[in-house]
Amino acid sequence: MGTVTVQRGSGHLYPPRPNTLSLLNDETGSRAALQAEATTAISRTDIETQLPEASESAHSTLAVRALAQGPKAKASLGQLASARGSEAGDSASIRSSIPNGDSGDVESLFMDFAAIAPSSQRQEATGLLDFPEFAADDIDDDGILSEFEAVGELNEEDLLLQRWKAKRKHYVILSAAGKPIWTRHGDSGLISGYVGVIQTIISFYEEANDHLRGFSAGDTRFVVLTRGSLHLVAISRMMESDNQLRLQLEALYMQILSTLTLPSLTHLFSVRPSTDLSRPLQGSESLLSSLADSFTRGSPSTLLSALECLKIRKQHRQAINNALLKTKASSLLYGLLVAGGRLVSVVRPKKHSLHPGDLQLLFNMVFEADGVKAGGGESWIPVCLPGFNNSGYLYMYVSFLDIRDDIENSAEITKDESVAIVLISPDKEAFFEMQGMRDALVTQMEKNGSLKEIKTAIDNGRPTTTDIVPGTVLHHFLYKSRANVQFTMSSYAPEFSSVTRRRRLMSIYNNLHASIHAKNTHVKVHHCVSRSATSFGWVTPVFEFYCIAEPNTNRNALAQSASKIAQWVQREEERLFIIGGAVF
């Protein structure tokens, strides 16, 4: 296994990057590049015309979303149709697999967030057709939870296939040679036929020196991302934009790099193009799956390409920073204190900022996937952080802190409450050094009361919108500080506590975000009214702000609340965000 050697002060081993002191590198650059690329995407309005009743409300759609509709896109649809037609066994088309059974009648499929309204209003809203935004909107919690259930290993293939097709979101990773590498749902046996179809479609374009980027079939969107010898495919019936799906695929690709490193990935395929990559990836499937599920559930962090921090007083954060600096082990590269996916504090070398994409992978591994936490002890994990350096491994020490003495059974500690110390070193033999630092750090933090402060901050949770602005019309907001590449948001509770509602909320944000960041638009304020909710986006050079309110909310009240929250964030900036962090 290759190792990254850190030579402090030289930095020539690392990819060139601006010598910035900022904590995080903004990746909006790469995002902008993604958006600027040509697309063969079918416009969303095109999808709508395929839905008989939807056109009526199309005017309320986010029309800015419409992307160039080219002849290529038509060809891709035709291609899909013919491919499907030729496969006799696949007569059940993707479109016909819309699970009428579990989500009621067809109308309800095209409802958007109407169900955010209390259930009494939900009934009344069923007949209404808002823009077709999120097909899964009208399902109950069981519906969305079943999305994450295993397809199973039944003998009855028909039933298996039916369950597989009922999933609203699929991710498939295959090699250029057509070998299935990973799929979120089902196994390689189940998907091999589809992988063949996908590969045929992709290579059809490749033969013409063209790159297939995406196509639609009914209300299903297919997005393809090609990286080296890998094709990553997202198949979504959740009405996400191409850019959003592409970002998700990028993250999955980063996870593969994180497991294997780029040189070894390249080597495997250059030696044998038909390599079965699922073998070297063995054991990391759960990381890919938990990453994929967090996208399906809806992740503000992925949407905004930013990180969330634990809100804590400046002086308390400073005390933790000092403890980190005081106990810093000599071979330490990065040290992180993380509470349930929210960063509490970070210690890092002056020359190296952290990449949100890398942290997303780390947090996914530590908090979302069970492999680390279920181990029950301290962990020592070789990991490649592709944003930092995609060619070698770093070694990560992970230890969970027991700060909840009131809870006896550690299994009862929820994800949001678990606190982890993550120490990263380029030295693969540095485990005990890191362990020593951890012990010293915990002692320090116990002594200066930091652990208690962290516990209090976790208990306090995120503020609700009415905590911040009493009587506000807003139900929820996201605020991204562009300079810090960090975001903050209000509590999901009470309106968005359930998985379904949270997913729906994220769909609204997805739409809002896509509209504001659509190619060739220079929107600063975006106000979107539907029959079930009002959403509002506001972008300045300093921040991005997105919020949701009741339908028919007065625009002035909305704008007023928004600016009050922006002011609040600016006032609380040093509590909400880590500015600089502990630097050595």
Partner: protein
């Protein structure tokens, strides 16, 4: 200081570095979790990298503190294994009694350990997932079966085992590696041998106790004397320990004092 500590700790205590090796999904982490937390998780996610846990094991004459390296079984982590077994005093090489290929892999690990680990390393071969076999239900029977074969096989019990084997063939028993085959191999190579179930707990503590008993007193003394030092030079332990011992000298000498 030394006196008071020895009064508090009637039994000498020493650290033993133990490493678990074996194919993916044979139940290494589950064995450790059963031993350390007396807990079992169905469908546990695979270990990533390695996990480090400690657990004390009390023997009549002394206390052994196991420092356990639970390694990931996947192929891509194999190159890191030497780091964990270097200077280990004990190793648990685990296979799955329902999967013959896992025994083959276990044999490879045993060979590698014999070639490259410390000469005095105590190796236990452990066949896990006994609960999936027909003898999984009865704790004592399984224990007897394993022991009787590894030690002097007595007639009656030998007969019982043959019966078991015969049963395996007819019933839907998931066992695919016979106790006899594994015992034979373990005897040949001079390994401790157990069949366990992390799920039911059968024989799990017994494995660790047997290892604790099998570690020669002499190796414990040196292992402890030079600190958890020479015992653990890998992973930078020696450097770290010399530092920690500065703060902790009193406690360390106290332990030594009472070991004599």
């Amino acid at each position: 200081m030394s006196e008071s500590a020895s009064a508090n700790a009637p039994k000498p205590s020493s650290s033993v570095k133990l490493v678990l090796l074996g194919e993916a999904a044979v139940g290494k982490s589950s064995l450790v979790l059963r031993f350390v937390n007396d807990d079992f998780q169905e469908n546990k996610e695979p270990t990533i990298g390695a996990a480090f846990l400690t657990q004390k094991c009390s023997l009549p004459t002394r206390t052994i503190k196991f420092e356990i390296w639970d390694t990931a079984g996947q192929e891509r982590f194999a190159s890191l294994a030497p780091m964990y077994y270097r200077n280990a005093q004990a190793a648990l090489v685990v296979y799955d009694v329902t999967k013959p290929s896992s025994l083959t892999k276990a044999k490879h690990w045993v060979a590698e350990l014999q070639r490259q680990a410390s000469p005095g390393i105590v190796i236990a071969l452990v066949g896990n997932k006994l609960d999936l076999t027909n003898d999984g239900g009865d704790v004592s029977e399984a224990a007897v079966a394993a022991q009787s074969e590894s030690e002097s096989a007595q007639e009656g019990e030998e007969g019982a085992n043959e019966e078991d084997d015969a049963q395996d063939a007819v019933s839907g028993d998931a066992r695919r590696v016979s106790t006899r085959e594994a015992t034979g191999y373990a005897e040949e190579e001079g390994l401790l041998f157990f069949e366990t179930s992390a799920k039911t707990g059968t024989n799990v503590v017994d494995v660790f106790t047997a290892i604790a008993n099998a570690i020669p007193e002499s190796s414990l003394k040196t292992g402890r004397g030079t600190g958890a030092g020479t015992g653990q030079t890998s992973l930078g332990r020696s450097a770290e320990d010399s530092r920690v011992n500065l703060d902790d000298r009193n406690a360390a000498t106290a332990k030594e004092g009472c070991a004599c």
